[in-house]
Every structure is written in structure tokens, then in C-alpha cells.
Symmetry: C2
Subunit: 228 residues, 2 copies
């Protein structure tokens, strides 16, 4: 499958503006189809997409009120501690938690029950490579939800209603079209900025020479236009 | 004081590459003068600078080993909940914690005592405006350090030694030269990408039209060159 702006040298280059525009475009779909009220950024890769997409996911509580930011909580997950030069996942390695949610502040300001319950939660990362990290994050979050549901002193009917109202979604800037090591439930809404081949993504925040990187990307784009 | 690339319309525009290069340049000084082993990103503003500067703050455990990322933990602090359209601080408002450190994972992998003790901790945010958020963060982290010190079963001498070894630093992309509402201890190392007048900073991640923003910035730069 041809990839827009890819010149065939194994590097899929992205500028900051490429990422910004992908986040902005995808935010429209996310707002319409999922409408999150909490973001969970998987650090460090999810930090930049989460901060950018927050700009485009603002919510208005009433027609008169100014739009407000939806809160972001960060979690730290690492699959690649032994490979510090990569920002991408390595299949089959153990996921290490370096930070988890702060439930003391995930309060009941926005929902009746607090924590994750009743919320529409968008998990954000830069790339869906092997899917192992995302799959781990979603599983663990689901365990937290079940724990919080169990602690609620409500009828079984009400408990089911709240479980039903608690929704998860995923936003990644890039999804690599390849066999995935991790699975994600079909109940989870899935949004990728764009789907790409199994290429090495050169993210701008990894670049020791950002101006040269942008120039290479400009050349990639030119070659892609000529090839059409 | 004149500001590089400022055209006098009240907006100080920054492109993503401006931010990237400021982080990269400042990282050199931070590595030489402070050499952090943990970053604390103040969300949402600190997420992007923290992720970028991580690239340039890698550490090598030995001459043979590949450089590894220093860990980032995120905290959420908010001064401006009522002003969702700003990414900057409002003086005198209460600081709200939306997330704090996860001490369960701030383990003793890198230091003998775990938590914050004995670490060189770099707190990262986008802008030092009123200094209220930064001042709050440092105070609260210092309280955590004292609490952790108190729980240690060591001699008073050892306790003093560990307190002494625990260092804080600050990195902000922009520091506004203006009277500050919050104070920061002189023991805290302070690094800003650049010092600016009390101008409104247009951060790229806030921009609904990033290409237009970049064009305006290019015009600002041109005018600044002509004015010289």
C-alpha cells in the first residue's frame, strides 16, 4: 500500500505540523463519534498527541459557557526499557508500569461516582505498533473499572447501567498495518490519525537536527507527488 | 527589551521547531549544570517540552551502554480552570491538583532509598508566568521529600546527607520577565529556554490553523530582521 509522503528509504518522516494536522483532523471524528470527557496519555509517546488533541476536543457545558479543556491524566508504560533509542514498541516484551492513574484526584466533579466510572475515556499514544502496550493499558483500566464498580453500594441493575456508561476509546497518531501481538475489545472505539505500512516512523521529537529532518520530509513529499 | 522574532502586535509566536530548538539548546546547559535523573512534567503545558527535552537528556550508565531515557512522571496542576482558552497562568488563583506523583512506581531502581530521595529532579513546564504553579509544585515536592526522609530509619547524619543529595531544578521554555507572585528557593537550579517580555505566547499546540500561524511567525521574523 502506498503511503503519502513516503519515499521508500524505510523512514516514514513526520514533521510537527504533520502530527498537529493529523490530531486536528482526527479530533473531528473523535468528537462526533466518541466525545470523550477524560484523556489518558500513555507517556512519553502519548504526551505530545494528547496535548495537541486537547486543543481540538474542548467541550462546552452550555451554549453560553466558554469551551473548557477535558482533563488529561498520564500513565507511564514501557515495553522498550532496554532499547532507549526507539520510541516504538517491541513485541513480546513485558510491559512495565512507570506511573499509574491518580484516583485521589479523578474525583466526582464530572460524574456521580468518581474514578473512571460513567466516563468516556480516550487513551492516547503516538503509535499502535504491536498493540501490546495499548492492550495492556486497556486491560488494566478495565480491571480498575470492575474494582470501582464492586465497591459501589448500588443495586445490580444500577451497577450494570454504570458499567455500560463507562466507555473506552483509543487515539493513536499512526497505526501500523501488521499482525498485532495484543488484542483490543470490540467495545473500544478506535481512532488512528492514519494507517501506515510497517515502517520506521521518524517522529520530530526524536530528531537531533529538526531542520534537516523537515528538509528530508519535504523531499519525500516531492518525490511522492512525482511518483503519482 | 527587544525580543527576537516579535513584531509588536502583542503576540509572541512560536513554531514547533522554535520550541524544539530551544529545548535542544537548553538541554546542553541542563546536562552540564544539573544532570537530572528524573523529570516531572507539569501537565498539560509541560508535556510537550518534557517529551522533547527527554531526547536530549539521555544518560549513559557506562561508556559501552546505549544512552537511555530518563523517566518522566506527570503531575497535573491547574490555575486557570475558569479560563479554558488560555495556556497561561492567572495570578493569585488557587492551584488545583489534578494528578500527583505515583510513588508506587517511583521505586528504588536508581537510588538506594526510592521515591524522590537522592534524585536530581527536573520539573518541566511551558512558561513561567506568575511563577505560582511552579512555586506550588516545588513546595509540595519538598513536603514529599521531608515526609520520605522522616520515614527513613537512618541516622540523623545520613538523613542530612540524603536531603543534601536530593536536588530540584526547573526547566521552562519561556520565562516572562515580570514581577512573580510565587517564589522559588535559591537552592533550585533554574533553566529557561529564553526570557521574554510579558507578552502573550502563541504556542503552536493551541493553534487552529498551524500553517497560517507559521506564516505569521515567518513575517514576524522578517520584520525583526528589517528592524535591526
Amino acid at each position: 500500500m502506498p503511503v503519502e509522503g513516503y519515499a521508500g528509504d524505510g523512514h516514514f518522516r513526520q514533521t510537527y505540523n504533520d502530527i498537529h494536522i493529523l490530531c486536528q483532523e482526527t479530533a473531528k471524528r473523535i468528537k462526533t463519534e466518541f466525545n470523550p470527557d477524560l484523556m489518558i496519555a500513555i507517556g512519553g509517546g502519548g504526551f505530545i498527541p494528547a496535548r495537541i488533541i486537547r486543543t481540538f476536543l474542548k467541550v462546552s457545558d452550555s451554549p453560553e459557557s466558554k469551551p473548557r479543556n477535558i482533563p488529561i491524566q498520564a500513565i507511564g508504560l514501557s515495553l522498550y526499557e532496554a532499547l532507549p533509542d526507539t520510541s516504538e514498541e517491541v513485541v513480546g516484551k513485558e510491559v512495565i508500569r512507570t506511573q499509574w492513574l491518580d484516583f485521589s484526584t479523578l474525583g466526582d466533579k464530572n460524574t456521580k461516582y468518581g474514578g473512571l466510572l460513567g466516563k468516556r475515556i480516550l487513551v492516547v499514544d503516538e503509535v499502535d505498533d504491536s498493540r501490546a502496550t495499548l492492550s495492556y493499558a486497556l486491560q488494566e483500566l478495565q480491571i480498575d473499572v470492575e474494582k470501582q464498580l464492586k465497591e459501589l453500594k448500588v443495586s445490580e441493575e444500577e451497577r450494570s447501567r454504570i458499567r455500560e456508561a463507562t466507555k473506552f476509546g483509543i487515539f493513536v497518531v499512526h497505526n501500523k498495518l501488521k499482525p498485532k501481538a495484543g488484542e483490543i475489545s470490540k467495545d473500544v472505539a478506535y481512532f488512528s490519525g492514519t494507517d501506515i505500512e510497517d515502517l520506521w516512523v521518524d517522529y520530530p521529537w526524536e530528531m537531533p537536527d529538526i531542520l534537516k529532518h523537515d528538509e528530508l520530509k519535504r523531499q519525500d513529499d516531492e518525490m511522492a507527488v512525482k511518483a503519482k
